[in-house]
Symmetry: C2
Subunit: 143 residues, 2 copies
Amino acid sequence: MVHRNTNAVRDAALRGAGFRVTPQRQAIIRVLETSDRPLSVEEIISRMKGYRSGVPTVYRNLQQFAEHGWVETLVGPDQIMRFVWCSTSKHHHHVQCEQCGRAVEVEGCALKRALEAMEAKSGFRITRHQLQLFGLCPECKGE
Amino acid sequence: MVHRNTNAVRDAALRGAGFRVTPQRQAIIRVLETSDRPLSVEEIISRMKGYRSGVPTVYRNLQQFAEHGWVETLVGPDQIMRFVWCSTSKHHHHVQCEQCGRAVEVEGCALKRALEAMEAKSGFRITRHQLQLFGLCPECKGE
DNA sequence: ATGTCAAATGGAAATGATTTTCAATAACGA
DNA sequence: TCGTTATTGAAAATCATTTCCATTTGACAT
């Protein structure tokens, strides 16, 4: 029930954005939505059940999804692109656990005041920012 | 006078960190110190006066400098590594102008309060963060 | 000065993630 | 059902970064 409904919502979103509904796209979204951490293309493909997309297809779709604000693309020091599904299209950030790798969204953005201070200091008008947070998740910090 | 003094300071810093003083290292540092924006390895090499380093040498040194906190490595969506010289080893951020590309350091970090709010929301203990700021520099926002 | 030796360099080759090409396939409106 | 057009994916290309390794060089001791 829930599952079927989720799929319907997803397909409607795809169509609404002008996408055709293909099993590849569905599979990519399904994997990202159920992942608790950012995934590389390789990881996305290996986690697909029942359907295996080609590499270029996954890259292409992720790029398109990113343009729609559905996924965020993260490039760490290892130079590998990783992708997180964004449940909200509102401005938000991700915190990732340095121990277990799990990442969660932090909705909203508490940076307003800080950005104003930095604008004053630098003389720049700050129009865009990207914040990556790392730390310990509730479980990992517990021990 | 000033120039000679700057060189002496730089060489002393290199020796102090256990590096040998080579013309390549001096050239890399000189280019980064006098750049008003992050540079790729290709750009660093093409800006060297009088001395041209090999590509692997530049990468190796930049990595070492980054480990010492002398440079910050930025990887943008174009997947190319760019490097900025950090005049201070204290925590700071960089704002880059989206129009002209110029980047400046914003010393200090006004995020303390914001990070506490995000810790409360997420349940994570935030230990590290990376903030990239973009906007318009004083000149470019003027028109 | 000179010798010694580990650190440093750099050309060439390797690596490997991402992108391009293009022919085949499939979604979807008519 | 059919035709149009987006989408897919295997293979090849791209290209920034890294590795290899033979050669050079900085720094210290003699």
